[in-house]
């Protein structure tokens, strides 16, 4: 049964051909960017190895590039950038809180367990 008392938010997002052209231009731009980042990652990954003295820098570079890619996918492809600010925070805040906390815990605990197992000669 269709209800007529609900506001159809879905209709708000309708747009005309001119806006469509603009949007598609933006989509292709983001595509180019994502492809470029991936290509750079692969080239660096295949040339600079883990025993290289630049490795620590490269590793963090990879992680930053990953977050950049994720940002563009979420904000542009998933249109989170166009949603209300409150919704944006409801979705993103759990990560800023939990994931950063969990990364901290994994590094601390992981290294502690590593040291402990080494100490008992495991």
């Amino acid at each position: 049964m269709e209800r007529d008392d609900i506001i159809e938010y879905s209709l708000d997002t309708h747009h005309d051909e001119a806006t469509g052209v603009q949007l598609r231009k933006k989509i292709w731009k983001v595509t180019g960017l994502l492809t470029l980042i991936t290509a750079i990652e692969v080239v660096i990954g295949a040339t600079i190895h883990q025993d290289h003295n630049l490795w620590q820098m490269v590793k963090w570079g990879f992680i930053i590039l990953t977050v950049v890619k994720a940002f563009f996918i979420v904000m542009s492809f998933m249109h989170l950038g166009d949603e209300k600010k409150t919704l944006r925070y409801v979705i993103l805040l759990p990560y800023f809180i939990f994931i950063i906390y969990l990364i901290f815990i994994l590094l601390t605990e992981g290294n502690a367990v590593h040291a402990a197992l080494k100490a008992i000669g495991f």
Binding site: L11, A39, V42, G45, I105
Partner: protein
Amino acid sequence: MSNHNETQTDSATAWGGKVSPFSTSYGKLMMWFFLVSDALTFGGLLIAYGFTRHACQVAWPIGEETFNSLPFLGHGYPLLYVALMTFILIVSSVTMVLAVEAGHRMDKKGVQKWMLATIVGGLFFVGSQAWEWYHFIHGSEFGKIELADGSKAIVKGHFGEIKDFTVVEAGKHHHKGAVIKEDLLHQFHHAIEHGKLKNDTITLHDGSKALVHRAKDEHVVLVIKEDGLKYKTGQHVEKGADKIYHEVINSGTPHRVIYGANLKANEYGPTQYAQFFFFITGFHGFHVFSGVVFNFLIFLKVVEGRYHRRGHYEMVEKTGLYWHFVDLVWVFVFTFFYLV
């Protein structure tokens, strides 16, 4: 075009069943909530992977060493295949956005076209992952070896091709002098794993013994992955490497060489590595597979014209959200499994 984002809302209208607090439809909001929880699941898995990797005592496998093959072309192409997979998934994400965009213009043909492209891209990705798993499970031609001093090493180089086995001692199925030319590499690996290769003579399943005719290995390098008495992790042994390798596979001792991967052992590194690889890429692959199924169901309804009659293509947008999420997860899996 009205804009409800500007609609005045107070607590009565906001929660009275008329206006959503986030100015989004119920379905879209719930899809976002699902994605938040699913992302936390993947987050948890990757955190567990990171923890294990940091706590682990032996060298963790390196992406460009483990994944360096291309279909039909063999080895020596570090990360290219997975880069291709990543590219396929990104492109299919792009076609999905284009489908959503076409939906906003009520362009049914456009939605159909781009959704179909997305489904094809998704199938290509799942297929690629199947190949990747097959390759991961079967492993390299050389395998991982345990040296005489107790250290363990992966082997790089050009594997000497096996030409044939000539039977020198008859068994149940083969008579003396017979030449076997089928399934050679598999039998060769199986025999070595079970310590059934000695002096280049292989003991086959049926008990017959055969001489292995194999070309010489070239450019062999042993990369030490676990410390022994003589060799230490990270060391590259080049001098006499082919001789050492030959000795190990001919030692007649079972389990000195490991090929490929299963849940108990793998040639790439610690056991947990393959377990996490199977679980995380498997869980992601299952997401891709379900995404393809959802996309296909929505595609059928687009073709049928249901959304056009409804006046909007929001269902395409919702399944699109899920599809982008799958791409998003892959971006992280790609970094943590293959790059760092």
